[in-house]
Amino acid sequence: MRIPIETFRLPNGLFVTLSEDHTAPIVAVNLWYHVGSANERPGRTGFAHLFEHMLFQGSEDVGANEHFELVQRAGGTLNGSTWLERTNYFETVPSNQLELALWLEANRMGKLLPAMTQQKLDTQRDVVMNERRWSMDNQPYGTWTEKLPALCFPPEHPFHHSLMGSMADLTAASLDDVGQFFSTYYTPDNAVLSIAGDFEPAAARRFVETHFGRIPRGAGKPALPDMSLPPVFGQWKREVVPDDIMLPRLFLAFRSPAFGSEEYFAASVCGAVLGLRNGSRLRRRLVRDRQIAAEASAFTFDLSKGADLLVVDAVARPGVAAEQLEQEVAFEIDLVQRDGVDEVEVARAKAVINTMFVSSLQEAAERADRLSMFATYFGEPSRVNDEPDRYQSVTTDDVNAFVRERLGEDNRASLLYVPRENSPGELVGAGAAAEER
């Protein structure tokens, strides 16, 4: 199955993708800016994400929080998100409100700065600090999202530092910094706009030209440093994190081929063989048969520049110590390395991936997001339609070649969470080790 795709580019550089589907009177608008935490300078971490918050604080013709109000009043849903490589903004609205959604996005792309105030910045900084407490500091294992990239990417690499940023950097952010960041990255030539769902292409094109056409092109953004990395870590990297938790948890990462590369698909299928759903290798072995883990899964970060990460995530069963968890997960990976994966496992993984792909295309928002993603990363939105074939053409040999090359001891990074001393979990999780003391 394929979705229809049309594209065009405005003279100011804005790249636009359209995908019609008239089954329901709704339309999704999705805007990707090609800027993420990877573009931040040292001392200014957390900016891309703080910025995402500021984009909901109004623009010249839209009051603070009015963006939310106008979209919800129109009967739409909306949000934004920040990632290492991009920041996106999206809304799904009844199809007769398409122009409103485009106008709102254009207004903040073209006229954000006149509406910025110190007070808005201060409030959103507080909100972001609370987001950090909520999602990381006061959440068991919550810091893994920043500790794992820090462990896996060298200090000078743009993927190394925290997406949420340091509290100190956030505190130091000035209105000037915000303005400069905006002028550099929030420009039409650094963005992709996708529209999916119930619309007339000619009308959509007219709306886009009217509202985005006069926004000036940017002055260009600083180039990212060379992102390329050797295919393997070169050693087994290890970090142990004491945390206020009851059960040990291991994130075992492997450096893997960048998202979108030829080799990526074998890595992704390998991840599914290992840890996607109940029938996966690690669920069966570690959770069901050997009962070492209470949960086990695997996934890729989907980073498109330099190198990606394939991550195995396992939580210990009560009574299983952290060291044992790490040894047993490694043992299973060693088995995979020694014997490879078989045809049946690969067939299962591919079947599940295929159904997930079709399911995801049900939502206009998801179609628009994928179009934006493939256009932003590769300039090829049509890749969305090639995905199923590229997955289905992965062979067991391809997966095993990946396994041989990338799952070895020279390409592992363990981020191991252990119950902190004096935390209530210590006696339960650390087993024998605690009794010795």
Binding site: A24, D61, F68, R73, G75, N96, R133, M246
Partner: protein, 460 residues
Amino acid sequence: MTAAAPPKSKRPAAGPRREYHFPRFERRKLENGLELIVAPVTKLPLVTVAVLVDAGAVCDAAGREGTAQLVAKLLIEGTEKSDGGELADRFEQLGASIDAHADWDVAVITVTALADRIPAAFDLLGEVLRTPAFRQREVERLKAERQAELLQLRTEPRGLADELFTRFLYTPASRFARPEGGDEASVEAIEREHILTFYEARYVPAAITVIAAGDITAARAEEMTRRALGDWSAPPAARIVADDLPARRDRAVHIIAKTDAPQSELRIGHVGIPRNHPDFFPVNVMNAVLGGLFNSRINLNLREAHGYTYGAFSAFEWRRQAGPFAVHTAVKSDVTDAAAREILGEIDRMRAVAISPEELSLATSYLEGVFPIRFETTTAIASALASVALHGLPDDYYDRYRDRVRAITAEQILEAAQRYLHPDALQMVVVGDPATVRAPLDGMHFGPIRLYDALGRPTT
């Protein structure tokens, strides 16, 4: 001379609205009492089948809470023919996703697969429902996994706040006062024979509704249902009604100690109303204004005006009997009392003065406009039909939904707030650092304060 300021950009007006209707669906009933609801939707070659069984957590025997959840999960952990690993593989070789769990009212087994795999997936569903093996090994493993979940909860402030909030809300005799999946002692007490007895009594055709949504006709769905489940017969089971009385009629503060916590997880609320209540619509719109929307009073106050939190919302949890009403948020520890005061203020304001026409139209036009966006997927359609079946909603419920929302007035909302928000009965649960939060909360004079450990055991 200065250049003229650029003209203010004008907000585009909405175009003509295109018609939308909730997918047409058809009901069938088999001779053995099993009901079937089918919504043919041919957008993509995909089908979701959801099997609803009247076997929710409210059916748990006292002292063995968690049985309903275990039974539902064990269905897909092995049949007479296949052990658990093999069964998972048989579903997943079809590319099918399979999930089984029990909520308060019903057990739900959901399968989504490509349309051409649905006949095979349907047969597997039949096998799962009729010949589960409940092997001792799997019973023990799932019990241990629940115990692991309970352990994890002790250091997971959000889950802990939710779980203890409901515990303190309902009278101790109510099933609702114990966790949906059971607690340490009750799960320990469940033996294989209890699982079998529960399954045999409650998993019977007359207690089952099969819902199919997607690229499938009613005739095909009926044919598949008959083949898988048509010759199944068993005596019907009695409906069990949960006790939903509150634990107390006055306010109280319950602090669950999490030393040095940088944030307080806060829940403030009381027992709400049942789903099938005549005032469901006014209450729903009232809650949207109070704390249901991003631009609700509570979120704008706590997040945007004060920067106390990343987010705050309120919700009525809908069950057959009265579920909880609660305001949920997590705030920086040193503003716990200030945030609580703002929440109480918003609840009072909701009951004191009618909302403005702008607030009313924001809530109603949102609920009305977002309606078609809610039903894009086969899973969402199946889940909407599950509500129809579970709560006995009329067949034209979704057809009339937007008219009913549109008809709500500010007076009805004021009345709903006065009738269904009970400031004097509010329970406050705080998972946070007692050294920081206790004294300020004391200073609020909200109600008596009790301290607990992470297991919910009183420490004062």
